[in-house]
Amino acid sequence: MSALIRPGEVLDNRWIEIADDADLPASGQVILSWARWLSLDGQIPTGDLQIGLRLPNTLDVVAHASQLQSHPLLVLDFPSFADGRAYSQARLLKARLGYRGELRAAGQAVVRDQLQSLQNCGFDSYQLRGDQDPALCIGAFADFSASYQPNLLAMRKRLRPGSHAPLAQ
């Protein structure tokens, strides 16, 4: 099982992935696929069960916002190293929809070299790809000490007179 991290620490993963054909437990914290969630059609066992969702990266999160907001965990999927669709899903969930739960990145792109971009798009936790060294990865959120994005406030401040002087060339 791969490690779950956030900046500076390795986390205990209390969430259990439930296969689409497995029975739901009566309690605990489980992650269901989006397809499984849809198939439940609102028939959720009453009790202590907390349900997180794993979303396909093709899902229009804005169109399904009402079904997503109440879940305490959303897992966004990176099916390959170079497929960046879930970056946009993350920004829409956090910046547009104000999602307050835990946003977790999982899949082939959750590697040392993409962690800081993932963080800048609003992810809270990272299910590392199996080959990744968690000890190295928890420190990989500081490759860059600054960023031009996601908003222009930093740029605006530094462009104003008296803030940051141009360097000699």
Binding site: R91, F144, N151, R158
Partner: protein, 554 residues
């Protein structure tokens, strides 16, 4: 020049450290080759036929003399004493060792340069008009808008893993010299009827396998909304662009398959949600950016010089150069001087380390220490006093950089082709040389007049063949190099795609075919003022076809 502040500098310095570590991990076997590939491409590093190729960004084509000297140093220290300027205002080095690329990037960072996002499926170097700031037909200087866009696009966390590459170009002039209609986003800075500044936005132009002239997505976007609109376009593309087929992954295919109206609706709907966010430019943002660019103290007495006219009258070689390689400047007594990188025996766009050092010196002496790169693969010294033009020309002539052919037939665009590129199907540099040999006579070239010949060694179209007045495309036929010809393309205001003449030509036939095309034009034009493009558009393909394929029919 835009000058970095500590913030900009820190980012490029940290990028060097990051890439040095990625290279180390790759060489140590800790980073899989396909992942290192994606990461190195975002630092401009390809692995080509013979060696890695490093593409360095020259944002909107602007270089200081110090930066040009550094490029000369890189050519000398890490490469075989030359570099190749590209059609997107970048420079490529064809022979660096992979292990030394981090050192090259560190050298570049020391002069406020980088290779960030010059390749890979991300937002590429922002390009613009090489006459920005000095052109007479310009509404305003587009470069502060370009720099703002560069910063917005640099390491944008959401848009670093797009379906495919993404290119943005700006023009603020009446004449489009930045080929904005063949970019993923083309921006024309305009003033509307109410006198407000804003942009006309074209999305989904591009060359390559499926060349498309970009359709207009928004006629007038207010000035403050530039970055939010970019973000809306990119978000729609990142979410919905095709990833199942590399040849259908550019935004042009999304626009085409979605339909322009529906695509526009999606972008506008997304933009509505973010147009009032922090991305909205505030009064003063652009002024602050403008203030970060150097301004020049022009010599008020420059126009009183009489030596320029005297030299024109006395020296016909100088006069020939002045006729082709100079353009008017907004300030009286100044001219824009082109440095031709199209000389006989030289691959178009190539420049040696010695030439780079020498041109940097000339820029310091005559042009406020500034050099521009054109999308036609030449250089420009944009602010030269007319009294300095004669000694400038003498120096350029001695350097082999004064071929008086700007805008003429031998000022052709050409990709590196099969000689260097692992994608190419056919050579292009050799064909360029054959064409140069055929049309070496300058009087003949002047007689032919303005014409854009563009050549690519494969259908990826780095040489922009689809929009050449005469376009040449190298294709592979059973292991042999053949060449398809198109006529009537244009990347300017009247942008259009060229029409195929018919069956392709062999390596031996291609230069003579260009000769035949020119012969037809010279015979059929209704006056010397009718350009090749105008003539083709009037008379159509038939006369050219008849001439080109006459022997086959017989």
């Amino acid at each position: 020049m835009y000058r970095y502040d500590q913030y900009d500098q820190t980012l490029v310095d940290e990028r060097v450290i990051q890439f040095r570590d990625q290279t180390r991990r790759y060489l140590a076997g800790e980073l899989p080759a396909d992942e290192f590939r994606a990461l190195r491409l975002r630092n401009g590093l390809y692995v080509q036929r013979f060696a890695p190729m490093l593409r360095i960004a020259i944002p909107y084509g602007l270089l200081s003399s110090r930066q040009l000297r550094m490029l000369g140093h890189i050519a000398r220290t890490y490469d075989k004493h030359y570099g190749h300027f590209t059609t997107r205002q970048n420079i490529q080095f064809n022979w660096p060792a992979l292990e030394r690329v981090p050192d090259i990037l560190a050298d570049l960072a020391s002069v406020q340069m980088h290779a960030i996002q010059t390749s890979g499926n991300c937002i590429r170097n922002v390009t613009s008009d090489h006459l920005a700031g000095v052109a007479a037909d310009e509404l305003l200087d587009p470069r502060p808008y370009c720099e703002l866009t560069r910063q917005w696009a640099t390491f944008h966390p959401e848009f670093n893993w797009l379906p495919r590459k993404f290119k943005i170009a700006f023009s603020a002039a009446g004449g489009d010299r930045a080929a904005i209609r063949v970019h993923d986003i083309g921006v024309q800075i305009v003033r509307n009827d109410a006198g407000e500044l804003g942009y006309t936005i074209y999305v989904g132009g591009g060359l390559g396998r499926t060349p498309i002239i970009g359709p207009m997505v928004r006629e007038f976007l207010p000035e403050a909304d530039l970055l939010s609109y970019f973000e809306a376009v990119l978000r729609v593309y990142n979410r919905l662009g095709r990833r199942d087929n590399i040849y259908k992954a550019r935004i042009k295919i999304l626009v085409k398959e979605t339909g322009l109206a529906a695509f526009r609706q999606m972008v506008e709907a997304e933009w509505e949600q973010i147009k009032d966010s922090e991305l909205r430019l505030q009064p003063g943002d652009l002024d602050a950016m403008r203030a970060r660019f150097d301004t020049f103290d022009y010599d008020p007495s420059a126009a009183s010089d009489t030596s320029f006219d005297a030299h024109l009258a006395a020296d016909s070689a100088f006069a020939a150069w002045a006729r082709r390689n100079l353009q008017p400047h907004r300030v009286a007594g100044y001219k824009v001087a082109f440095v031709s990188l199209k000389a006989q025996g030289i691959a178009p766009g190539d420049m040696t380390d010695t030439q780079m050092d020498a041109v940097a010196e000339l820029a310091d002496r005559y042009a406020f220490g500034e050099v521009r790169v054109t999308h036609d693969q030449n250089l420009v010294l944009a602010d030269v006093r007319q009294g300095d033009l004669y000694p400038l020309w003498q120096s350029l002539r001695d350097l082999g950089l004064a071929t008086p052919n700007i805008g003429l037939l031998t000022d052709l665009i050409c990709c590196p082709g099969l000689d260097f590129c692992s994608l190419a199907n056919a050579g292009s540099i050799g064909v360029a040389q054959d064409i140069f040999d055929l049309f070496d006579n300058l009087d003949d070239q002047h007689d032919i007049g303005p014409i854009k010949v563009k050549m690519s060694g494969c259908m990826n179209g780095c040489g922009h063949h689809s929009v050449g007045h005469i376009g040449i495309l190298g294709v592979d036929k059973k292991g042999e190099e053949w060449y398809q010809v198109t006529l009537g393309g244009s990347a300017e205001n009247d942008a259009s795609l060229g029409d195929r003449t018919g069956p392709s030509f062999s390596r031996d036939e291609i230069a003579p075919a260009v000769q035949k095309i020119i012969d037809v034009y010279l015979r059929m034009r209704n006056s010397e003022d009718e350009t090749f493009l105008a003539c083709y558009r009037r008379i159509g393909m038939a006369p050219f076809k008849a001439e080109l394929y006459a022997t086959e029919a017989a």
